[in-house]
């Protein structure tokens, strides 16, 4: 605010992209060397933001990330150069949302991450409307089974169909938020779900993705 007042509108709108003008706060968390809040012009890319924030956890590479918090469809390393303005993110199939960029490297099990998010939405559901209240209750049970390697490929289709019955059917957007990471993770990482079923368990070492693993604490 003070900078806009002292420098004027032209200064502010001189930054950003054509439709998303100015700057905003990007919040980087997770597997990133210097997590935190970064003030940057709209339209910056994750690649640029990672440069500012010290890059993905040393020794690891980017696997997937959220452009606007856990309720927005996830992106992968293929989206490193997507301009992070409203139009750019939307064109790439997600939403800029809260600009909460959660960064996950290759040690992370996407099924596990999605399950954690879904559990969060189940907990957050106020309970007023059916799709969200009952839907998140069910989604958690399905995802728990999948993460443990129980089920068959048809369960993935069921999961997608469930999301279709939840997405856009509820009173507020919380249920949409619950369905988004599931749908997008299946879009980009369907094979990883199948790997769980083949292995009959989660093929990842959950310890490897923890931050204290990096710090050498077992």
């Amino acid at each position: 605010m003070p900078s806009i007042i002292s420098n004027g509108v032209a200064w502010f709108t001189g930054m950003g992209t054509e439709k998303s003008k100015g700057f905003t706060l990007y919040s980087l968390s997770g597997h990133v060397n210097n997590p935190g809040q970064f003030e940057a012009p709209l339209g910056i890319t994750l690649r640029q933001l990672l440069e500012i924030s010290g890059g993905v956890r040393s020794g690891h590479k980017l696997k997937f990330w959220t452009p606007g918090g856990s309720s927005t469809p996830i992106f992968t390393d293929a989206h490193l150069d997507v301009p992070l303005d409203y139009e750019g993110v939307s064109a790439a199939g997600s939403m800029l949302g809260t600009k909460a960029l959660q960064i996950f490297d290759e040690t992370t099990c996407v099924v596990r991450a999605v399950l954690r998010w879904t559990e969060f939405y189940k907990h957050e559901s106020c309970g007023k409307c059916t799709p969200c209240r009952e839907g998140t209750w069910w989604l958690v049970q399905v995802l728990k089974d999948l993460e443990a390697g129980r089920g068959s490929e048809s369960d993935l289709d069921k999961l997608l169909d469930l999301c279709d019955n939840i997405m856009g059917r509820s009173f507020c957007a919380l249920a949409d938020g619950a369905a988004s990471p599931i749908i997008s993770s299946l879009k980009y990482f369907r094979q990883e779900y199948l790997d769980h079923l083949v292995a009959g368990k989660c093929p990842f070492d959950p310890m490897a993705s923890t931050l204290f693993e990096t710090a050498g604490v077992k």
Binding site: K128, R133, W137, W138, V142, N165, R169
Partner: protein
């Protein structure tokens, strides 16, 4: 809201909207919800939370449809229960939109994942919107393989309503009803997410007179009535449209019977009367019909003073013998149907040759008789809907006519209309109505009535029957109504009172509002009845008959304790013919007892407080019991002065053919106002009314219902409490020369000269305990 419903002098032009639903064009008033417009086309969109009388919630999401307006489509399906139609709107329901159809099937599947498959033992099974709509709009099979949510069950949210939380679909109908319709927000949705559940505050149970409606509108079996739970399958019940016999509100009802026994009663639908609601008394008080002390056969008292069962001819002969050639009279009671009341009225004039007939088994006055003879009672529920101001005089609608209360509350909730109550204290009901209290004490209401200003032609004055307990009050009301142009309504407690007036069951009134004092009206009636003449002498009132030296009385359903403490003793000296459904204080002293049908066993009609006729058919036909009018007709034949009313139908037809008297009517003789009685020291003026749920004999045997009756307390003013050095909840004793009542006290907004007790509640039956009910000086002391 339709044009007619607004019903004002300058008819409001309502904007009409045209839209298209599933390819069909329909024009509806602005504000109509999509789901309702679809109904008009015969398109049923499945729903759970939607209810036409409750504010939209959009909670269940079962009614999702695709909508576009002027070519612009909503990006996602919309809840049709929350969206009003607009011009240019094109709606596609499950019938024409695969997206809407899949959305509905999806929601249904989600609703069922946590719903138990206990339909075979659930009360709702067979009449369950969830069952039905799962069949019509659900997937054939569930894909849910997980763990269902379970709860401890059932939770009693009151003595008469049980909650099975795992069956609940959280539609919030019950909580919205309680808040928006009854004004009793004692149940809410607690917790979050899938653990959300209906609940009560630990220390505040679901203490509402209207709780049964939540059971009826629950779209699943989550709320059940304690008395009906596990008793019947809906498909074994035979349903009959009926009318409520408990009060003058006039509720349409449905009586469900299995093999000659009433299993339950539900609120019926009548937009002009009870909408879709009723009170818990109407719903849950019907065991009296099957009470052990039902009178099953005629009885005659033998020479040893014992009642002996006899044949009908024997009993009728004995009754006729005692009634004919003696000075006699008729007490009808306030619960007779119009047809039965007409039978009593005609019987008194034709068979007994007297005007000694009165339906009032309660406090009454000559002023009241004249009021009922001369005053046009024009107020209706519709007038309440449109009123700018409602004045209640000695009338507690929540206790004395609960649907009148709901109707006023609706307008208070919706339009914040002004309510003024002339009453001794601010009752829970009048607090809910946000009524302005003009505090009076028994005897000084007249001044308060006279001082009322600001009533208009759109105002409604509603009088309770207790107004007759203050001399001059009715005179003042008549003047107030005439001066202001306000509509006047008189709301008796009992269902039969208005009908009895129409039937001429009053000492000064013949059927069809023909005055006994009007020679032309008498000749008219005598001609209709084919008798020589009708006595021009006004008959005796109930009190007068009880206290008189009349030798014989024919008595319908009357409890002498409703008349006075000494009534039974006085009546025991007379020859009594009692028409009763159960053994009572009257049958104990009667010389002849003739059994009659209870309401469920007969057809007939009641007249509600508006003067609207509420017809009903017999719900139980496998019975030998007959309506009073049939028995009276046989008895009149036996006396040799037939009344020719062998059936309810014939009585109805004859009364209809008489029509209302259109000759000139006399004016009421105006009474002067009285003042309240002077009290000093520990003396107080006694005030009382009957709580809705109390010791009334039609509530006998209904323990679950009694569990929600308001606790009996003595209400005193704060200053009296200080003088007596008692705190709220401590015991206080109210006494007079006759007796005493000791109860916990409650400090209320009551005049310091007064004390209030419930008139006929547990441990507080005033006629029995004190021999007086109001306007009498009693002593109030610390117990």
């Amino acid at each position: 809201m339709s044009i007619q419903e607004l019903g004002t002098e300058s008819q409001v032009q309502i904007e009409m909207i045209t839209c298209v639903i599933d390819g069909f064009e329909i024009t509806v008033p602005k504000g109509t919800l999509v789901i309702r417009a679809a109904e008009k086309l015969g398109i049923q969109i499945p729903r759970f939370c939607d209810h036409p009388l409750l504010a939209p919630a959009g909670a269940c999401r079962q009614c999702l449809v695709d909508i576009e307006i002027n070519g612009r489509a909503f990006p996602k399906p919309q809840a049709s229960c929350t969206i009003p139609v607009e011009n240019g709107m094109v709606v596609k329901t499950q019938l024409t939109s695969p997206v809407a159809d899949k959305a509905q099937k999806g929601v249904m599947e989600l609703l069922l994942i946590n719903h138990p498959l206990d339909c075979p033992v659930c009360d709702k099974g067979g009449e369950c919107p969830l069952q039905n709509q799962a069949m019509s709009n659900g997937r054939p099979e569930s894909r849910f393989e997980g763990i269902k949510r379970t709860f401890e069950k059932p939770v009693p949210i009151s003595s008469q309503v049980l909650l099975d939380r795992e069956r609940c679909v959280l539609c919030a109908r019950c909580t919205r009803f309680s808040e928006q319709i009854a004004g009793d927000p004692f149940i809410t949705l607690n917790e979050r997410g899938a653990l959300q559940q209906v609940g009560i505050y630990e220390e505040e149970p679901f203490d509402s007179y209207y709780s049964g409606n939540t059971v009826q509108i629950c779209p699943v079996g989550a709320l059940t009535g304690t008395s009906y739970r596990f008793r019947a399958r809906p498909f074994d019940l035979v349903s009959t449209d009926s009318a409520c016999e408990h009060c003058a509100s006039g509720c349409a009802m449905r009586t469900d019977v299995r093999r000659g026994k009433t299993l339950r009663r539900l609120a019926g639908e009548d937009a002009d009367v009870n909408e879709e609601w009723n009170c818990d008394k109407g719903r849950w008080a019907f065991k009296y019909e099957v009470a052990k002390n039902r009178v099953k056969s005629p009885m005659v008292r033998d020479s040893n003073g014992q009642l002996q069962e006899v044949s009908w001819p024997e009993a009728l002969a004995a009754a006729a013998e005692g009634l004919k050639n003696s000075r006699s009279g008729v007490l009808v009671g306030g619960r007779a149907t119009i047809e039965d009341a007409y039978g009593y009225s005609k019987f008194a004039r034709v068979a007994l040759g007297t005007n000694n007939i009165d339906f009032r088994a309660r406090r009454h006055s000559q002023e009241e008789s004249e009021f009922l003879e001369t005053t046009k009672l024009t107020a209706t529920y519709k007038d309440i809907d449109n009123a700018d101001h409602i004045l209640l005089v000695n009338f507690e609608p929540e206790d004395e006519s609960p649907i009148v209360f709901l109707r006023i509350y609706k307008q208070v909730h919706k339009r914040s209309i002004k309510v003024t109550t002339i009453a001794p204290l601010a009752s829970r009901g009048s607090e809910k109505l946000k009524a302005k209290l003009i505090r009076t004490t028994a005897g000084d209401e007249t001044q308060a009535i006279t001082n009322i200003s600001g009533l208009t032609g759109k105002s409604v004055i509603l009088l309770g029957e207790r107004i007759s307990e203050t001399e001059g009050a009715l005179s003042a009301v008549v003047k107030l109504a005439a001066d202001s142009g306000a509509k006047l309504g008189w709301v008796p407690r009992r269902a039969g009172e208005r009908g009895a007036i129409a039937a001429g069951a009053l000492p000064n009134l013949l059927p069809g509002n023909r005055s006994v004092s009007d020679p032309a009206a008498r000749i008219d009636m005598a001609t209709a009845w084919s008798i020589d003449s009708i006595s021009n002498e006004p008959g005796m009132s109930t009190d007068e008959m009880v206290n008189s030296d009349l030798q014989a009385l024919l008595i319908g359903g009357v409890d002498p304790m409703d008349i006075s403490a000494e009534a039974k003793i006085k009546l025991s000296k007379k020859f009594i013919v009692s028409l009763e459904i159960r053994q009572s204080d009257i049958t104990e002293i009667a010389s002849v007892v003739l059994p009659v049908a209870a309401v469920v066993e007969k057809s007939g009609s009641f007249m509600d407080w508006q003067g609207k006729v509420r017809k009903f058919e017999a719900a139980i036909d496998q019975t030998l019991n007959r309506s009073d009018v049939r028995i009276l007709s046989m008895l009149a034949d036996e006396i040799g002065k037939p009344i020719n009313l062998p059936t309810v139908k014939s009585a109805r037809a004859e009364l209809d053919s008489l029509g209302n008297w259109d000759g000139p009517s006399s004016d009421m003789k105006m009474r002067n106002p009285t003042a309240a009685q002077k009290v000093s020291g520990d003396e107080a003026v006694l005030i009382s009314w009957r709580n809705l749920l109390d010791k009334g004999s039609l509530q006998d045997g209904e323990e679950n219902l009694a569990g929600t009756a308001r606790k009996s307390t003595i209400i005193i003013s704060n200053s009296r409490a200080q003088t007596l050095n008692v705190r709220s909840g401590e015991h206080v004793r109210v006494s007079n020369n006759y007796g005493a009542i000791t109860l916990p006290c409650q400090i209320g907004d009551i005049d310091e000269s007064s004390v209030w007790l419930p008139r006929n509640s547990l441990n507080s039956q005033l006629i029995r305990n004190l021999s007086v009910v109001s306007n009498s000086v009693v002593k109030v002391t610390k117990a």
